[in-house]
Symmetry: C2
Subunit: 340 residues, 2 copies
C-alpha cells in the first residue's frame, strides 16, 4: 500500500459510530429555498450547469432520466465540504490528542514524532516521514473502543476552534455545498461522503452537519477487533491501517461500499481525480464538479503547488472532461454559514 | 486472519456491481398482506414475537419507540434467506466455473484442488485444505473486471439449478423471510444483508430477489485495483482476500460499512453468533432471530453436527439471550415460494 505524505495527511484518521454533535447549521431560509435552491451560488455557467443537470435527470420522460434508485452523488470532504487549510482538521485533532495524552507518556518529550508534535513543529513532524505520521495517528486513534473514540472526537469537535476563523471546525463548512447537498436530496439523490479522512471521525458529525447518515459515509479505516468485555461486546481499534480512501482508492471504496457507480462526483483536489474520472466515465448523464479555491480574502487561494489539497491534473483536464469548476471567488456569493 | 473451513466455505466468493437478474419472486398477495403481513408463518410465539416487536418499536409514544433513522435490520444469507444445502451455492458456482474454464487450463487435470473439483470429488477437495479452497476461489473469482465477474455470476444464476429442487438457486429462497423483509421495510426498517458470501456475487441478485439494493449488501471481499484501460476506467479483481465477513468479522463489518448498531439481527448458524450478540447487546429494544433447520421433508434438518451451517452455541444460548427461534417445521406454513 502506497502511503505517500499527501495520502496519509489526507487520510490521517479513522473515526467511530453514530454520535451526533450538538449544534447545527441552518441550510437556507424556507423562503429562499422555494425561490432558488442554491441562493449562495452566483448566477453563471456552473450554477446553471448544476440546475440543468438535476432538471434533466429527474424529469419523467426526459431522455436523461435517472431512476431514483440510481441517483447517487459522492462528495469529498476536506476542501470540498469543509475548510482544509492551514492543515487537515483531523491532523490538528491528532496533534491536540498528543498534547492531551502527553502526561501519560513522559517519553514523548524526547521521542519523534511526538517531540515535534508537542512543540508545534510541523517541519520536524514532516521530517519524521510517513512512518512518523502513522505512529502519530495510531497513538491517538487506536487502542480504545469505537465508542470511546467517538466520544473523544465529539468532545474535540465541540470545543476546538479554527485558528483563523475562531469558529468550531464544523462551522467552517461551505454554505453553497450545504445547499447543493440539500438540493440533490430534495430531488431524490442519495448523498454520500467519500473521504480520505477516517470514517469513524467523520461519522461523529456528518449527520448533524451535512445531513449524511453514518451508513452513507465512506472513508479511511483502521482495523478493529470484536471482543466481549465483562459480558459487553465492544470493537477495539487496532494500530493497523485497513484502507486508505484516497486517489485510486476512492473508486475501489465506492465499488466495495456502495456497489454501483455514482451519477455525480464532487471534489477539490487531485486526490479526487480518480473518483471523478470513474463516476463521469459511466454511460448516461454524469456530472463532475471541482471546487477551485481562489478566494484568499474569504477563505484560501491554492491549487497546483499546495501541500494540502493539491489540484493540478484536475485543473488541466476539467474542461476536456466536461467537469464543472466552482471558482470560489466568482461562483460563491457566501462561503461560510457565518458570513454576512 | 483465521480462515477455517467453515469460514472459508461460508464466504467462498466475492461478487460485483449492480446487475439485476431477470425473473423475480412474488412476495405475497396484496390481499393477504393487508390481512396478515406474515401469511407463511404459523401462529405461535415466534410469529407473535416478530409482530409485537415491530408494533412496539414503531408506535409513536411507545416506550420502545425507535426513530426511523435507527431502524436497521441485518440478515445473514446462506441458510437464512436461501437454502445452503447440500453445499453453499457460491461454492457450487466456483466448481462449475472450474469446469467451464478447464479447457483453457489443461494442467488442472493433474493438479489439486482442480483435479478433485473436475471429478466432483468433495472429499478430495476438502483434503486440499484451506489453501486449496482459496486457490479454487481465486482461480474462478479473480483476474477479471468487476463488470465481467457480475456478468458471469448473473449467467450462472439464471441457468444453474438446485440438485434436489430443480429450481434456480434464486428460487430456493424462503418465503417467510421474503415476507419478513417486506414487513420490516413497510415499517420503516432499512434491511441489510450481512453475509459470509462474496459481496459482488450477492449484489447481482439481492435487489431483485430480496429487495435489498447493492449499497445495503455487506459481505466478504477480495481486493480490487483501479485501472484505466483504453481510456475506460475498470476495477480489476485481484487474487487476494480483503475481508472475510463471518463470525467475529460480522460486527466488524457492520461497524465499518453501516456505522451503527442494528436493532434486529437474523441468522441461522454459529457464523452469525457474534452478529446476534453485538446487535442484541445494545441499549433499548433489540431482536435476535435464529432460523432452525428442522424440516428434512420440505428442506433439510441440521444443526449441531452439520459441516455446512453448523448451529451449536446459538441453540444453547438463544433462550438465555432472549433470541427467537424459528423452527422451520413448526413455524413455517410454506418454505419456498414454489411450495403449494
Amino acid at each position: 500500500m502506497n502511503l505517500d505524505r499527501r495520502r496519509f495527511l489526507g487520510s490521517a484518521a479513522f473515526g467511530v459510530s453514530a454520535v451526533a454533535l450538538s449544534g447545527s447549521l441552518s441550510i437556507s431560509s424556507a423562503k429562499g429555498a422555494a425561490e432558488d435552491p442554491l441562493p449562495s451560488w452566483n448566477a453563471g455557467p456552473t450554477k446553471q450547469g448544476l440546475l440543468d443537470f438535476v432538471a434533466r435527470t429527474t424529469k419523467a420522460g426526459s431522455r436523461d432520466f435517472v431512476p431514483p434508485a440510481e441517483r447517487l452523488a459522492v462528495f469529498d470532504n476536506d476542501g470540498t465540504l469543509w475548510c482544509e487549510q492551514p492543515l487537515y482538521n483531523q491532523l490538528v485533532f491528532a496533534l491536540d490528542r498528543v498534547k492531551a495524552l502527553a502526561d501519560k507518556h513522559p517519553e514523548w518529550k524526547e521521542k519523534e514524532p511526538f517531540k515535534s508534535a508537542l512543540a508545534n513543529d510541523l517541519k520536524g513532524l514532516a521530517a519524521s516521514g510517513e512512518r512518523g505520521l502513522i505512529e502519530l495517528v495510531m497513538a491517538t486513534h487506536a487502542g480504545m473502543t469505537t465508542e470511546e473514540f467517538a466520544q473523544v472526537a465529539k468532545d474535540w469537535l465541540s470545543t476546538a476552534k479554527h485558528p483563523r476563523f475562531s469558529r468550531r471546525y464544523t462551522e467552517c463548512v461551505y454554505q453553497p455545498m450545504l445547499e447543493l447537498l440539500a438540493f440533490l436530496r430534495s430531488n431524490g439523490f442519495k448523498t454520500y461522503i467519500v473521504t480520505g479522512g477516517g470514517v469513524e471521525f467523520m461519522r461523529v458529525f456528518a449527520d448533524e452537519v451535512y445531513g449524511v447518515p453514518p451508513e452513507q459515509v465512506v472513508g479511511s479505516t483502521i482495523k478493529t477487533k470484536y471482543k466481549v468485555r465483562d459480558g459487553k461486546p465492544v470493537l477495539v481499534r487496532l494500530p493497523e491501517v485497513d484502507f486508505i480512501d484516497d486517489k485510486a482508492g476512492k473508486p475501489v471504496a465506492i465499488n466495495k461500499f456502495i456497489g454501483r457507480r455514482p451519477v455525480i462526483a464532487v471534489g477539490n483536489s487531485d486526490g479526487d481525480f480518480e473518483m471523478l474520472e470513474y463516476t463521469t466515465s459511466g454511460p448516461g448523464p454524469r456530472l463532475g464538479l471541482i471546487v477551485h479555491h481562489t478566494d484568499a480574502e474569504r477563505e484560501y487561494a491554492y491549487d497546483r503547488k499546495s501541500v494540502v489539497g493539491q489540484l493540478d491534473r484536475g485543473l488541466d483536464e476539467a474542461k476536456k472532461r466536461g467537469w464543472l469548476l466552482a471558482d470560489m471567488k466568482k461562483d460563491w456569493k457566501r462561503v461560510f454559514p457565518f458570513d454576512k
